[in-house]
Every structure is written in C-alpha cells, then in structure tokens.
C-alpha cells in the first residue's frame, strides 16, 4: 500500500511551546484518518505542517514519497477545508470553486464546467451565481469542500469542518463526507476534538495530547483498549481503575480501563467480577442514566439503561463486570 503522508519524528516548536513533539505518522493512500485531541494538543499544527502553512522545526515529512519540507502550500498536491471555510467574500460561489483552476491557468469554459460539476457533487447545483454571504453555514461548508475537491488533491485536509454546524446537520455531513471519501478514493485527513465524530468516520485515529500522539489505531482499539489515562478519559470517558483496585481484582497491571457501559448495577452472575460501593450521584442522558458509584473513595461511572430504576444516593450497591472488559494500561 502506498504511503500518502509520512511524519518521521516531526516537531514544531513555537519558542518554548512544543506544539508538535516528535510525532511519527504513516497515513495510507485512500485512508480516512482522524487526528483527535483537545484544543492545543497539536493536531491542527500537524495538519498545517501537511498543508505547508508551517514548517517543521525538526524531523522529516513526505507526501506521496516526496519531501515536503520547504515546499510552499501552492506547490503541494493537498487541499484544505478550513475551519472557518475561508470562502472569498468578493467572489461568486462559482468563482470560489473555480479559483484553484483559475490560478493554474485553466481554460474559462473548462473551469466553469468543472466548478459546476463540483457544486453538483456537494449537492449545491445552480448556486454558482450567489455570494458566500448569502449561504447558510452548512452550504458554505459544502462550497469549501467543492472548492478543495475540484483540484483533485491527492490528500484532502479537513480542519474541524463540522465544528460550526448544529448536531443534525453535522450527523448528515458526517455520512456524506464518508460516502464521498469512499467514492472518490482520496486520502482524507480529518482534525476534530469530537471523539464521536472520529470514532464513527475514521479508518484510523491518532489521539493527540500536548503535542504527542498518545495512541494510534482503529476506532475499536482506541475505544476499547485505551493505552493511557488520557485516551481512556478523552475517548468516551472510560473509568481508570487505580493500582489498589486492580490488586483487589487480582490483576497484574498497575492500571486498567473499564468502560461505563460494560458495568452493571447488579450482583455478579457466574464468572463476573464485582465491587461493592455506594451510589454517589446520577445524571439522565436520554437512553441511559450515568450513575456514579463510590468504591473506596474512587468514583466509577456506570452507564445504566434508562429503564432500570437507580437506587437513591447513599444506598449500598454492587457493581459487576466481565473480566475481559478490564483492559490493562501502559500508564495512567
């Protein structure tokens, strides 16, 4: 398989701030790759390093086998969908989409045709004569997508493209982006701070924190077997069991993660592990109740089906879970 983007020990420092710190990445051609992390974790800087807006302080970047350091953005076969869309306010939608072809000197008629096709692809046919100011947020997002894709990039970079959309529109765009990526076969690199978005869309996820990759893997791996406390907490709020609790459960590892939905508020059936505690609080989340159970001072979150009644706060309770849902962690 061809490597689309390669990061070899790449760093980007801004003075004393290590925005990106010795990152290694290997994105395959045609992959939908998500970079997930909180703001300031270095994921956007990595994207900007790929686009060419930033140059690495150290390390080596390759895009489809070609060295990327020192190559300006306008000579890279990558295109970006910006977080704020960055549509040109003085140009019509058609001219916005055709911009890349225009600066490369394409014939006027071809440009128009290609731009119209791109607009049709993002389901905005006939919007060419409007101005960016006349479109809704979701429509602008589609235009930004069309403007990038019309250049047939080898890699499409998306910087939190769905961040400004409301929930319903976001879910719809997630599906559309995914099917678009499948049908075009272009490598997508997607930056997001929304773990649900990363889990549902990506083929692989790199979880960033403080300029470094904490874990890189398929969504199920990252979700079910978080390597560090940060990943456990950031990707779906896993419980991290302390060394003391691990010992009590007979585990060799120093720390272990346990997902809230793997725990039941019930006495153990055969083979299951259990801990005794008291109910410390609860919140209603719709399909489930999130119940917090205090076990020797450690707070353990349990996702309990909303149909099940939750005992009042302070009641003693037994929680149980299967041994296979306990995942040992490297550190905490």
């Amino acid at each position: 398989m061809t490597t689309a983007v390669l990061f070899d020990n790449v760093s980007r420092y801004f003075g004393a701030v290590h925005a990106v710190d010795r990152v290694n990445l290997d994105i395959a051609e045609g992959e939908f790759f998500a970079m997930l992390g909180p703001s300031g974790s270095g994921k956007t800087t990595c994207l900007r390093l790929m686009a060419g807006f930033e140059q690495p302080t150290g390390g080596h970047i390759e895009i489809f086998g070609e060295t990327a350091e020192g190559v300006p953005p306008y000579r890279r076969s990558v295109n970006t969908v910006f977080q704020d869309y960055a549509l040109f306010p003085h140009l019509s939608i058609l001219d916005n989409v055709a911009y890349g072809l225009m600066v490369k000197g394409g014939a006027r008629e071809e440009r128009r045709k290609a731009a119209e096709d791109a607009l049709a692809m993002v389901k905005l046919p006939g919007y060419g004569t409007r101005r960016p100011g006349q479109l809704s947020g979701g429509q602008r997002q589609r235009v930004a997508l069309a403007r990038a894709l019309v250049n047939k990039p080898k890699v499409l970079l998306l910087d939190e493209p769905l961040g400004a959309l409301d929930l319903k529109l976001r879910e719809q765009m997630q599906e559309e982006l995914k099917s678009l990526q499948k049908s075009l076969g272009i490598t997508f690199v997607f930056v997001t701070h929304d773990q649900g978005e990363a889990l549902s869309m990506a083929d692989r996820i790199a979880v960033f924190n403080e300029g470094r990759i904490q874990q890189l893997g398929r969504p199920e791996e990252v979700y079910n077997q978080p390597k560090t406390r940060f990943v456990a907490d950031f990707v779906g709020s896993s419980n991290v069991l302390s060394t003391k609790l691990c010992q009590r459960l007979g585990l060799k590892a120093a720390f272990a993660s346990l997902r809230p939905e793997a725990i039941a508020l019930a006495a153990p059936s055969n083979g299951a592990l259990s801990l005794a505690g008291t109910i410390a609080g609860q919140s209603f989340l719709g399909a489930t109740n999130r119940v917090f159970v205090d076990v020797d001072g450690a707070r353990i979150a349990v996702a309990s089906p909303a149909a099940h009644a939750v005992p009042p706060i302070g009641s003693p309770v037994t929680i149980s879970f299967a041994a296979r849902d306990l995942h040992p962690m490297e550190d905490a």
């Binding site: 807006f53 295109n79 970006t80 910006f82 960055a86 549509l87 306010p89 490369k104 250049n151």
Partner: protein, 271 residues
C-alpha cells in the same frame, strides 16, 4: 419606556446646530460670491456688480497654471508613494507578528499627530544637513510623510478584517504570493486604498505649512494663494482659484466617504 417624542430634539438645539453649520459654511459661500464681484481691489459687501470675467482672467494667467500643475503633480506622486509604502506597512503590521510591531504602528501615525510646522522644520533641517537642494522632490517627500498615514490607516483597518485564512486558502489552492495579492488581497482592500489615496491627494493638494519649509522657488497652489492675498492684484482671481481648490479637494473626500461606507460589506471575512 421611551416615547416617540423623546427622540425629537427641542427647537433650541435645532437652531443651535443650524447656526453652527452656517458659521462653518457661509464664509465659504462668501469666497464663491467674491469670485464674481466687479470690484478688484477690496472685498466690498455687497459686491457692486457681478461678472464672470475673472474666470477668463484666471484662465489666461500663466502663474495660476504653473501653481495648479505643480500641486497636481506633487499630490499625485506623493499619493502614489504613500499608496505603495502605506499598503506594505499595513500588510506587515496587520498580517505578521514581530518585535516592535506596535511601536512601528505608532511611529507611522505620528507625522499626522505632530503639528505641521514641526514636521516642516524637521524636514528642512534634515534636507539642509544632507545637502539636498530644495526642489519638487523635497515637496513630494514632505507631503508623503503625512499621506502615508492616511493610506496606512485606511489599509490597516481593512487588512485587520480580512481573515488570515483567506490568504492561506488562496495559497492552498495553488496561488503564489503575487496571485494571492492580485486576486484576493487587492479586491478586498481596493476601496480602502482608493479612499485613502483620495484623502491623501486632498491633504497634499491644500497643504501649506510643510510645503513652505520644503519648497524651493516653486509655489504650489495654496502657497500661490497666500502670496496673492499679500500682494493684491486682480483679487477675485484668487477667489476663482479658491473655488477650484474647494471642488478639487471636496470631490475626492466625498468619494472616499462613500467608498469606505460601502466597504463594510465587502471586507467581511464571510464568517
């Protein structure tokens, strides 16, 4: 609760406002009136009779033409210099971060805050020290110092409203620096530059103080008028020229006002 009535100004305030405006503008109308008087020695009111002969006289006076041409040339070149340098400076200050950025911003604006006479004296002594003879070019340099300020101020305000990602988006789509300037930056700051340029032209066209210190033997139009007032000869000719100056400076300022007002929609980053 606010009633409709409370939004209406009392009669006294209206009269005061009208009087204030009249105080500012009626004297200018008097200048216009005296351009048509038949009395050429003194400003006698009311004028004994009205005539348009002074327009013809002014037309035939070579010194008027010399002064007018010089003023137009100086203003054009000073404006051109200011447009280039002011835009570059505005781009640097608004688009990048560097040590001393705020200081540079202040230093660029300073010449317009300083009294013209100080700028004038400073430039005059600097030119003498450097053995630069006073000429057309020293006037242009003197005017450029304050013309840059108005261009810079207009451009920097507009630059700040261009979202930085617009420039990155252009580069990302394959445009190099020159293409980005041509297709993205210029269309977005164009009206601000035109407005700044017009203001700069108008400022230069009626400037007296800095000019008196930086000019050699040449007289720009305002200087020529000043001299005419001291040595009266065909006095209404001065008024005719004054009318021209008012028109030539008023139109660009009016234009600049409308351009920057409309510019609000153009410059938005489309967020």
């Amino acid at each position: 609760m606010r009633s409709e009535k409370s939004n209406r100004a009392p009669l006294g305030l209206k009269v005061a406002a009208a009087a204030g405006l009249a105080f500012m503008h009626v004297p200018i109308l008097l200048i216009f009136l005296y351009a048509f008087t038949t009395e050429e020695k003194s400003y006698q009111f009311p004028p004994p009779d009205l005539t348009t002969q002074w327009f013809a006289v002014a037309w035939d006076r070579p010194d008027v033409w010399a002064a007018l041409t010089l003023s137009v040339k100086v203003a054009s070149i000073a404006t051109a210099v200011a447009l280039v340098l002011g835009t570059l400076c505005a781009a640097a200050v608004s688009q990048t971060r560097f040590f001393g950025r705020e200081t540079i911003s202040l230093l660029v604006i300073l010449p317009i805050a300083l009294p013209g006479i100080i700028t004038g004296i400073a430039l005059r002594s600097a030119f003498s020290m450097a053995d630069i003879p006073f000429s057309f070019w020293t006037i242009v340099l003197g005017h450029a110092t304050f013309c840059i300020v108005v261009v810079y101020n207009n451009a920097v305000a507009r630059f700040r409203r261009i979202s930085g990602s617009l420039i990155e988006a252009s580069m990302d789509l394959g445009a190099d620096g020159f293409q980005t300037f041509r297709y993205v930056i210029l269309p977005n700051i164009g009206t601000a530059l035109l407005a700044g340029g017009m203001l700069a032209f108008a400022l230069s066209f009626d400037e007296v103080i800095v000019t008196t210190f930086t000019a050699g033997q040449q007289s720009t139009l305002p200087i020529w008028m000043l001299e005419e007032l001291i040595r009266p000869r065909q006095r209404p000719v001065t008024n005719v020229v004054a009318m021209i100056v008012v028109v030539v400076t008023f139109l660009p300022i009016l234009g600049a006002y409308y351009l920057t007002r409309d510019g609000d929609q153009i410059a938005g980053a489309g967020k």
